[in-house]
Symmetry: D2
Subunit: 431 residues, 4 copies
Amino acid sequence: MSASLSIAAPAVASATSLAHRYRQVRQRTMLLCQPLLPEDTVVQPMIDVSPPKWHLAHVTWFFETFLLKAYLPGYTVYHAEYAFLFNSYYNSLGSRVNRADRGTLSRPALADVYSYRAHIDEQMARLLELADTLPDDFQELFELGLQHEQQHQELLATDIKYILSTSPLAPAYLPALAPATPTAAPAVAWLPVPGGVSRIGYEGSGFCFDNEQAPHDVLTPDFELQNRLVTNGEYLAFMEAGGYQDFRYWLGEGWDLVQTQSWEAPLYWTLHEGQWHRFTHHGLQPVNMAAPVTHISFYEADAYAHWAGARLPTEPEWEVAARYFEATPTHGTFLESNLLDPQPLPPDADPTRCHQLLGDAWEWTYSAYHPYPGYVRAAGALGEYNGKFMINQLVLRGGSCATPVSHIRLTYRNFFHADKRWQFTGIRLAR
Amino acid sequence: MSASLSIAAPAVASATSLAHRYRQVRQRTMLLCQPLLPEDTVVQPMIDVSPPKWHLAHVTWFFETFLLKAYLPGYTVYHAEYAFLFNSYYNSLGSRVNRADRGTLSRPALADVYSYRAHIDEQMARLLELADTLPDDFQELFELGLQHEQQHQELLATDIKYILSTSPLAPAYLPALAPATPTAAPAVAWLPVPGGVSRIGYEGSGFCFDNEQAPHDVLTPDFELQNRLVTNGEYLAFMEAGGYQDFRYWLGEGWDLVQTQSWEAPLYWTLHEGQWHRFTHHGLQPVNMAAPVTHISFYEADAYAHWAGARLPTEPEWEVAARYFEATPTHGTFLESNLLDPQPLPPDADPTRCHQLLGDAWEWTYSAYHPYPGYVRAAGALGEYNGKFMINQLVLRGGSCATPVSHIRLTYRNFFHADKRWQFTGIRLAR
Amino acid sequence: MSASLSIAAPAVASATSLAHRYRQVRQRTMLLCQPLLPEDTVVQPMIDVSPPKWHLAHVTWFFETFLLKAYLPGYTVYHAEYAFLFNSYYNSLGSRVNRADRGTLSRPALADVYSYRAHIDEQMARLLELADTLPDDFQELFELGLQHEQQHQELLATDIKYILSTSPLAPAYLPALAPATPTAAPAVAWLPVPGGVSRIGYEGSGFCFDNEQAPHDVLTPDFELQNRLVTNGEYLAFMEAGGYQDFRYWLGEGWDLVQTQSWEAPLYWTLHEGQWHRFTHHGLQPVNMAAPVTHISFYEADAYAHWAGARLPTEPEWEVAARYFEATPTHGTFLESNLLDPQPLPPDADPTRCHQLLGDAWEWTYSAYHPYPGYVRAAGALGEYNGKFMINQLVLRGGSCATPVSHIRLTYRNFFHADKRWQFTGIRLAR
Amino acid sequence: MSASLSIAAPAVASATSLAHRYRQVRQRTMLLCQPLLPEDTVVQPMIDVSPPKWHLAHVTWFFETFLLKAYLPGYTVYHAEYAFLFNSYYNSLGSRVNRADRGTLSRPALADVYSYRAHIDEQMARLLELADTLPDDFQELFELGLQHEQQHQELLATDIKYILSTSPLAPAYLPALAPATPTAAPAVAWLPVPGGVSRIGYEGSGFCFDNEQAPHDVLTPDFELQNRLVTNGEYLAFMEAGGYQDFRYWLGEGWDLVQTQSWEAPLYWTLHEGQWHRFTHHGLQPVNMAAPVTHISFYEADAYAHWAGARLPTEPEWEVAARYFEATPTHGTFLESNLLDPQPLPPDADPTRCHQLLGDAWEWTYSAYHPYPGYVRAAGALGEYNGKFMINQLVLRGGSCATPVSHIRLTYRNFFHADKRWQFTGIRLAR
């Protein structure tokens, strides 16, 4: 990872503020895992989901490997086998547990992983005291370690949801909510976005991932964007109109999945006593028709758009629009709210503004996750961070109710395969 | 399960002795799980292995389903979903968790399963006070429940071993042993067994499984049996002679497995600093050359026998020989010893006697697990206990170091598919 | 393959009679393939089915490899690649085409395979002229080559049926038959067979396969056998009684197949305008209710027997009964009739005799295909002929309408996995 | 398929010229299949390859279904089952043979398929006589039928190559060529292409596929393109530099394939007596180092580019450059040459010009196959022609030595999954 290319240099910070920020991020991870039993932290009910115990250790291994080993004089590795156990995908760093087998390992136990975290936190405190004496690239890697942990906070939230959902007991991770008073979502409006040549990609002086660079010009047409996310109620209309039974709305690979996986609703939806419910972090809840639909694949998003006579935006369109509408995170739902579910707009939300661009649900774009012009994969292990995934995935934008608010940017490029449904993914229509 | 046919009627026992025996068996299960962390009780690293948490609940569900529901007036089910979660394979009793998915369920938690056990134990205590007033078949089903739990004790022991073995940390379930003083196994001798018509199958008045009946005559030839199990040292000679590289010793399906699974030693063997070690309940240990070889598939047992110029005994031969040699469990290693590893014979063991017929290692026979003449599958759920597995499996005899000593009999028919290696399986040669 | 052990020495025959017999067997294979188009000889619609082109070449390769190369002075191999292409499963003879890929090879073309056959036939004629001068084991191997080709004649007949069945055009291999006049099968009778010690296995002076040896004593109980094969009409009664919907009749692995494969009738049965039809070598035909049921797996045979309150015979019982009833091939349907379908008994067939023991349909026994006592696998490539398959298969007895009549014996042991349905397999009940 | 949107209206042609063109295209297909044996036309050695018999019938079924049934009064279907057998993927038109099972069908025979073709050709001749009286959309559909058949001509050429390659006999489809005199490829040069806003997509008045529309503006940067395709010699340098052993050059999914598929060279390359050879339509041939490399996946193209310090062009860049360099098919190798292999440039080719943009090899772009702005999927069966594949595939440009010259255009968008290698795919570098 080259400083000048892939990660914009953050303003230099004091050792004290670094230590403060480190503790803050690390504590958030611990808070997220607090409601879990040791049993919950071991299992891997599908290949995309990692055991929470693994997340807890992997983000820690990242600090140990890229910071302590590199910068703390005399540092000795905590446990010789941990690199094998907690490396995610870095070929540069040797062999590792097969991804599909992460859920077969009961040891090291959760308590051992917490000890590992505590040990690394101590050593990191020691290292941060030396921050002023360290070379320039230290702060960059440090920041990357924190951003990496924030990414795993989002994965923790969504993986925990999936893990708990597999039990027929439908256990609640958070206390059940008081039933929402049914309200209608505000009316849909189409907001025009003028076309032309615009600049996208990260240009500021803070942190960004290498995949947000280089900033470059794009040409977008005149188009219109909907003023809010598609709601559960709207999506239910698609279902009730036979959307899952009519191949004409679907991409071919999507239609195959509808049939082989027997999809007939978003992930986590289930009919309970004749009424649609969703499994949530709060247990099984009736579907709130005014809230944004989530847990849908790109195929479902695209089929819905077809049915609705619209389309999904492209990635350049999304960013151009988000800049045009001056989207801010102020009103979105993020991880810190601990709601872990996208929220309905107030019925009186201003229909002339574009809502929910940041937070609530990741918005599928109809753009492949490919390198930006001028993108250069870094040398060394960190070159494997983003670049090697740039094929067969789609870009999602805007963050979700499981994204830390300090982690999102207008230029942030998230990416998933078109069939994935366990993230908080949603739909924004364009035309 | 019909009383007269499948399970010989045990002598009627007093309510007090029933309660005593119940507590004894149930406590043994708890003892077995005591060294485990909650994390260890959740995972399923391969399809044959069930999570300990599942075993603990399943044997409990058996008492609830077949005894409490049937005989305790006014009994209400502990939890509506537990039948779905903890039914193993009874079609009569409705749908159930896919076997391969047992390791994806973090809930109910281990503590909840222990509460379930405690509740059922209380209710069973109440029921056993009424034992004198219950119909005849009650004691039979009660005994079956205990025998069933003993079967799962053996599975717990072997599944725990497999679960812990998957971690590169090689955690020990029991304290490591002092290194064994190397001794030679006593010399092999071939003991003649006269042929003729003999009776096999259970004829006594105690408990037996339905598959041990009906007793019937078999005709066996004159043959010879080895006086002890094949040792690790003898098996290593086969390995070093290229046994795993020469297809001529192997059944076709076995040879395919050698290649696709890259078998080159028994399960759990690993070369560590140039010396063969085995993963055991005591952690990684050097291979004791005088101890019986275990964790080999039928294919390996048969290939070894070919290489050694001998063969495996048939099931009738084994039982005829065991009766002829008047085998008793006195000298064998069983679960209660808590050694969980087959033991070498003393070097001065009497070479004219046949050793290790009971305990230490299950002995593969070259006989299919098919019904005995006169076998009748019972009506109802218990008819699924044994009969429906009578295809494509081989009979093993004699019990192992993980079998409770009160559970084994000369007529006991165990059965596994030819490729299974995670049980304590061993080799006895015939010719 | 050792002469004394595995194949009984045939009476020494003259060179002329050898040549005559060779031509006869080889021509039968050609006749079988005559109605085929080149296209029919290439495909492999499932792994058990081999392309007819492959059969034609493989049996020829057998003569080339085991006879011409071994006994004809100066013989040079016809084509260097043919051993790779047409070796079936002999590890001793080097690598070979993956079995599942036989149907991907369009070349060598059918015409080339016929040229290969003609060339080998010429060379075999030359070799047979020298027969009197050749060592003793030559005639044995020669006979094995012919018997081997006869085995593949049966496979050709059944594979051709399967191949043609996959086309929705239901092409007929033989001219359609005039519709059978519906007749009732003669009534079922149970014929007693006295128990005791009897001898089974081949003891004569003609040819037998190694797996029919050594002859040995068996002990069978008093039992009864049905006087004829189960008919289509009887099997339909099982179907209509819900046999495929009730797990209680089924072995566990069978019930899994019923569900995953959606079995609801024998292979080749289909409802056509409300009436059951079967695909046959004569195209699609109405099911003849008086004819024996065929194309059923062991699981179906066993489930039918359960439903009927009976059981399948064991292998020793079958052979003891066949000897007791002095079964002969006189009345059975064999390959030479070119009917390629089992035939109904005449309504007035003697109810006191045991019919259809030889010919018409292979009878599933409830005995595993394991070695007889005293069986010794031969050294060299021919040791792979039979012995390496002695696991996880069941013995079938009596030959079928696709077996050459000169190929069957009372001691003949055929074997298939329990799930196979594409052979002419049928049901004989015992109790 | 709506005339105005997806296919530009061709100039109206006379009935005579239509019939002439029809015969020309249809005869080309017959010529392509002439060297084949019936056996070659049946098999499907991998799922992407269809049996030539199937291609021959499928393109014919297309004319029958979309033209004869729609426009010829009183037309009756040739065979009721053919729609099931020869429908490729149109859900609108009912069920069809599973794609992976196309190679299991020996019937209808090749001769029957030729009869089907002859029949449809006769009926088409009758229909074309009425051309002047038919509605406007007839000519469009007719043209689509011809273009569709041309697409299958290319697939026929590549599928035949794959089919013949599976035989160890390495049969030649065309006579072997005289060995090429080794020449060096002309030196590589980087040609600048000025950036800015340009128009891409089809705007003419002839035929185009719906996916080439709507024409629209794109913004491309200043960039450079190589003046010719990458050669075998250059690719061999990558191989010899350890390109297949170093994960750093590869996208993650590509690296997985390298390992699981044991890729170490392009498809069809094999070491023969120490020298690299390629299987070609002319049999096994030494690799010509000056000819363009082909039969490489996108992953290999991208890894090569990484290694070479360059990148692949995007789709807009490719089309902008091809227009800028005024690429024409004049010098390229196309199907009509019957060479079926890309040809080296003459050593004295003008280094200032951009060669081989059309013909020789399809050029992988680093652009996903997604809809153009304004693309609208047509109603009805033809709406399934292109639109439903617009996910997880990459665009290739420029045609190959197996593309009919009358079929290619600068705006033509071909598309394949990133792992496909059996097409004539090649590499053009950009930077």
